[in-house]
Symmetry: C2
Subunit: 292 residues, 2 copies
């Protein structure tokens, strides 16, 4: 396995263990609620956002143990958004991470509540972490709340834009909010826990902004080029929902060129850092070349 | 107007002003999202939980300005829970606080997102309050997260129990979680901001626990004795949903006696406090005798 493969599997292992501790067991009353939460959280997600927290934090010298609650928190926020996004009133999707979505496996009311409590548990994870100072907790929660709100803004903008012709600038605004903000805060949180300086934090922000954009562009490409089986979620649904996407604007070939350009910009942002950033570059490689 | 009436209207005024600052304006993009949030938040709610934050905080000598973000946060958590509770997949209600529920006025997807972002804004309100120390913010957020999670637990327990014969102990567990936890944390937060000691905090917790129970008992009574018009929300719906309620267990007269008993216990808890608690007693009077 490559260095990145090893790093991903190490991160998944320790983050899953931490999530297992932070989320009440499936036997906790009300059992149906925490079964539903665990169904969606432990569905074999890529843990991309936690990996970013850990990769950036470790590049800046943070103790791994101090990164775990925040890595888990960003995954909990992400998963709550997926559960709600999949609801019949939203994207109405029955497949996610290769298995039934939360409301299909359980029911809509339980899925709404599972998403709700996951958001709460995310903030709780950070605030209860005995390894972080109060000052760090406050900064992390402030940044996480800001990004979680922007994520919801992005979902609303996305819904508002369905079936309409929207401009490229609007598409970018949707993505910067809907996916970019949480990817950005994941990287920034790692640097904050490592007590990085403002210049370093700016470089991390630039890197993560480009990485978030790259992630979205490749997501759009995969939706039109891959099968549902490979993706573990319904393929081709952007097109059916008449969503604005990069391939819809540029065509597939030009979108691939755009991905290459954004990849180079992400990597260039790392050049401003005097830190061991090989793994961050490999993450960008991985996003550029991902097949699912 | 009575002292309590003046206090309530003062609280409503300053909390509404604070909420107006904390929640993005209805012109903020995505406008539909923040219109929906404001529709539900500024619907003329009683602001019972913020009043408790302010009443307890002031009784313990806190500066009123330091109480406002937390008073707003508990109202935002409460309102998010109402928006989601009213959804078709949950209680499917179209009337709340005398007007159309969020999903009826807007749409289900927007209502889901409005509730989601309100929860985020609640934590954001506290963490961004420049008047509170980091230590206090961390304690408040930890307590609020714990109570917000218990509130969701209670909603799930409530849903799980619909249409079933449940024991009185189960009914009490539902209420302690669903409404009791947020009422309790409202009172405790006021005392925490005022830097009350542990003994004082225990007395406040006892008072608020009884007050929460009293609130629920009178809520159940009003559901069977008042009209939809007076309540501003659909009357008689507990019965139709075959929900376990105090009147269903005890009958109306015995439930009234129980309310009196719980009221006396709430007031007795105040006797352990060497603080000016007249307003806290009046709040208990008000809950006991409320007509809506």
């Amino acid at each position: 396995m490559s260095d990145l493969g090893n790093f991903f599997s190490h991160c998944t292992k320790i983050v899953d263990a931490e999530l297992g501790k932070l989320i009440p067991s499936a036997k906790t009353e009300p059992a149906r609620l925490y079964e539903a939460v665990r169904w969606s959280v432990f569905a074999g997600g890529k843990r991309f956002r936690p990996v970013l927290v850990l990769a950036v934090g470790k590049a800046f010298g943070a103790d791994e143990r101090k990164l775990l609650s925040t890595a888990s928190a960003v995954e909990m926020i992400h998963t709550y958004s997926l559960i709600h996004d999949d609801l019949p009133a939203m994207d109405n999707d029955d497949l996610r991470r290769g298995r039934a979505t939360c409301h299909v496996k359980f029911d809509e009311a339980t899925a709404i509540l599972a998403g709700d409590v996951l958001q709460t548990l995310a903030f709780q994870a950070i605030v209860n972490d005995a390894l972080l100072s109060d000052k760090t907790k406050v900064r992390l929660i402030a940044e996480l709340a800001d990004s979680a709100a922007r994520m919801v803004d992005g979902q609303q903008l996305d819904l508002d834009g369905e079936g309409k012709k929207i401009a490229l600038a609007d598409l970018e605004k949707i993505h910067q909010n809907k996916t970019g903000a949480m990817i950005c805060v994941s990287a920034r949180s790692g640097a904050i826990i490592a007590e990085a300086g403002e210049n370093e934090l700016n470089a991390v922000t630039n890197y993560a902004s480009k990485l978030g954009l790259l992630f979205q562009i490749t997501d759009d490409l995969l939706d039109v080029t891959q099968t549902t089986e490979v993706l573990g979620k319904t393929a081709g649904k952007d097109l059916r929902a008449e969503k604005a996407t990069y391939p819809a604007f540029y065509g597939i070939e030009e979108t691939r060129n755009l991905a290459e350009k954004v990849y180079r910009e992400a990597v260039a942002a790392l050049n401003n850092l005097e830190k061991p950033t090989a793994i961050l570059r490999e993450i960008a490689d991985f996003i550029l070349n991902r097949k699912a």
